[in-house]
């Protein structure tokens, strides 16, 4: 929705080769940059972040489309490794894109490297990718179609791994994998980022001093989530629990709803995690929080933001809209790329607490 100019390919700056090598690709990148600068000195290469993406060859187009929709948050150099079953050699293409998003008379250029390679290359993918990243920039790795051996091979040269825990087959393995990765690198989890507006709103609701004390009387939390997004609900629970000092109990699932308790400083807290079949997008569908004093607040998706409802201990109810535009899945991915340059200390603790609920 931004009014900034879209990325467009620089027609004069493309290179492709079959059965090539990383050093040839790296040389091509250098030449293309030099040629582009010689043609037009008003182009300045973006130097923010390397993004290495490992995808199945058949789904490369879909991932490329998603990367096109990240708004301003394009990596400076994107290296897409498309994995093809049985492939023995490496084919590559390099293209420069031009964005119109620098004020004044300069244009940012970014580089995109597409590699076609085989499964045999994945365990040593670092030897192929390392020569291609811009030195001294942080490197973000994203592997939306699995291929954990490729991610593991890149961990020593990456600073950040992007995951989407809702894509893992089950919440337990999703949180376990995220925790394993978090021991080695900083993890940006799209499932966590989808909870951000909800976390911000709950934090804001309890921020006025007259309501802050109610935080410590919470005795019930119900989370509704998209059918594949229970892990987002777990992370939200984990966030509340880790911030409020709850000791997590165990969740058990009956008829699609996970229930359990956590132990707070004053009360036990009942937890419920419900799947909402009516929600078509990943993430949370609603949050409801009760306190022992009889107050409850809820947040649900609505037009123009989240619909907030507050019921006080006397049963009086109010409703209002907390304004905010939906970021869409393209926006979430863009936010994931942006977050690779920041650090959120709350995620690790939420992850630990959320995982404890599953033990």
């Amino acid at each position: 929705m931004s009014k900034t100019a879209p990325e467009v390919p620089d027609a004069g700056a493309v290179w492709a080769a079959q059965n090539t090598t990383p050093s040839d690709i790296e040389e091509a990148l250098r030449h293309l940059l030099q040629e582009q600068h010689a043609r037009d000195g008003a182009h300045a290469p973006a130097r923010v972040l390397n993004l290495v993406v490992i995808v199945d060859r058949d789904w490369r187009g879909e991932i490329m489309n998603r990367l096109e929709q990240v708004g301003r948050y394009h990596a400076s150099r994107t290296i897409v490794c498309a994995v093809e079953t049985g492939r023995q050699t490496i084919d590559a293409s390099v293209a420069m894109t031009i964005g119109g998003d620098v004020e004044g008379d300069l244009h940012l250029t970014r580089e995109r490297v597409l590699l076609d390679l085989g499964e045999k290359h994945l365990a040593k993918l670092d030897t192929i990718v390392d020569p291609l990243v811009v030195t001294d920039l942080p490197t973000l790795v994203w592997s939306p179609h699995g291929h954990p051996e490729a991610v593991d091979a890149l961990l020593h040269m990456a600073q950040v791994v992007l995951v989407d825990s809702v894509n893992e087959p089950d919440p337990t393995s999703a949180l376990r994998r995220a925790r394993e990765l978090a021991r080695e690198v900083y993890v940006v989890d799209l499932a966590w980022l989808r909870t951000t507006p909800w976390r911000e709103r709950v934090a804001a609701t309890f921020d006025p001093p007259r309501w802050r004390e109610e935080l410590f009387t919470i005795d019930g939390v119900t989370i509704r989530h998209g059918p594949e997004s229970s892990v987002a609900g777990l992370l939200f629970f984990g966030w509340l629990g880790s911030r409020l000092g709850w000791k997590p109990g165990t969740l058990t699932t009956v008829n699609g709803t996970a229930r359990g308790t956590a132990h707070g400083r004053r009360d036990d807290i009942t937890l419920a995690l419900e799947s909402d079949a009516g929600q078509s997008v990943p993430g949370l569908a609603g949050v409801e929080i009760h306190t022992s004093s009889g107050m409850s607040i809820s947040l649900d998706r609505g037009p123009g933001g989240l619909i907030a409802r507050r019921r006080d201990r006397k049963g009086n109810e109010q409703s209002w809209t907390v304004l905010g535009a939906s970021r869409g899945e393209g926006g979430i991915l863009g936010e994931g790329i942006r977050q690779a340059l920041l650090r959120d200390p709350a995620y690790r603790r939420a992850l630990d607490c959320g995982e404890a609920l599953l033990r």
């Binding site: 931004s2 009014k3 300045a44 973006a46 007259r210 802050r212 509340l240 037009p303 123009g304 200390p345």
Partner: protein
Amino acid sequence: MAVVEHENPLVEGLERLPVHPTTLVIFGATGDLAHRKLLPAIYNLAHEGALPERFNLIAVSRSDMENDEYRRLARESIAKYSRRQADEQVLDKLLEQVRYVPGTFDDDSVFESLGQELGKFDQEAGLPFNRIFYLSTSPAFFALIIEKLGEHGLQRHDDADVRVVIEKPFGTRLAEAQDLNRQVLSVLDESQVYRIDHYLGKETVQNVLAFRFANGMFEPIWNRNFIDYVQITASEDLGIGSRAGYYDSAGALRDLVQNHMLQLMTLLCMEPPVTFDADEVRDEKVKVLHAVAPPPPEDVVRAQYTAGMAEGKDAVGYLEEEGVPDDSRTETFVALRLEVDNWRWAGVPIYLRTGKRLARKVTEIAVTLKPVPHLAFEAEGSVGVQPNHLVLTVQPNEGVSLSLGAKIPGTRLRIRPVNMEFLYGTSFLSQSPEAYERLILDAMRGDPTLFTRDDEVEAQWHIIDPILESWGRDETPLAEYAAGSQGPEEASRILAPGHRWRAI
């Protein structure tokens, strides 16, 4: 994990900290600033989910219209001036919370209606909203509106904060600024007053602080021992457009130097604050202003543009601009030489220069270092050796460049200057928010760091007022410069020997 009861434990790690529910009141809500800047800024904050959890807007202006009519105008302004395309659902919900109160600012019934609307919002929500009164009016109404707020008891609110944002210019002379401060502070505490200088909301202006205080390599040379002189330039390629009425009464000195350029100078020259607490930062800025003596007349040059070429087209002179009196002596260009008389800066000239209809639009701070004490390459004919320049560009092409001497390829050891450049746009993913987005949010959060304090604004006027005083007595013809040029030749008069203006 230890939980501190009096803090909100949920905010750790959140990029957007909670803001107390707020009702924002804009006086002058049909004016140009409201339509071009304030309403789009509020929409963008709403779009990003950065507004308080509960937010209302009350627009106050003279035009007689209903709520819906104002909402329609606001929708048009946001569509036209917002930095992003509006999401209709967010915009609809935002406009639902907008009320319009018509009337003149001297009319008590306006403030009674305003009080009722504010009270209704509180009552409906069952909690007292913070109140921000944004004075986006002619400066002539600032004192009156604040007086009326006081008379109607709107300057305080039980269990909530009341803040007043005052647009520039804050006075046109020192005495006027002092009077206005007295009137404002007879109703409000200084902690409630947010004097806005939108320059301070610009990311690149704040970057001056980051550049100085987050990089150890510059601090050792940031003083009179290494710096030869400083130039701060804010040039415009445009003329005055349709702003003759305002501009002819203000002039370049009041329009840009008294506020924006002195702010840039304080950020460049201030000592490192102990923390970035609002008063710590502002204390350091005020110390710089107190160390600057008003420049003598010979260190100030003023001029007017005459006909010339701008952007390849004929451009009329200032006196031919529509709405400008034939005998106007308003300066469209001013250059001055200041010195910050303290241990760090004594003896280092600080040149300020601003003007309309100059060759290019640029705002920059250029720091020229002293030349090397001995030039070993002289025998090889190194005519190109120049002192290093460190240039902080605020707009456009925000960035930092450092000129260095480098060897020209070849068999002889000959030197010429080259530039090492850093552009902010190449190194960050995020789009900078508009200055007004940042400042409105800061006012709602109660963070006055980027707003001007009473003693700060008066210290600025202490430097500028004597210049205006001397100009009032001076009847010599103004210097002139052709539209589209580098400015008047007379500007070189204030430079110390060996110093020169950078090309605009």
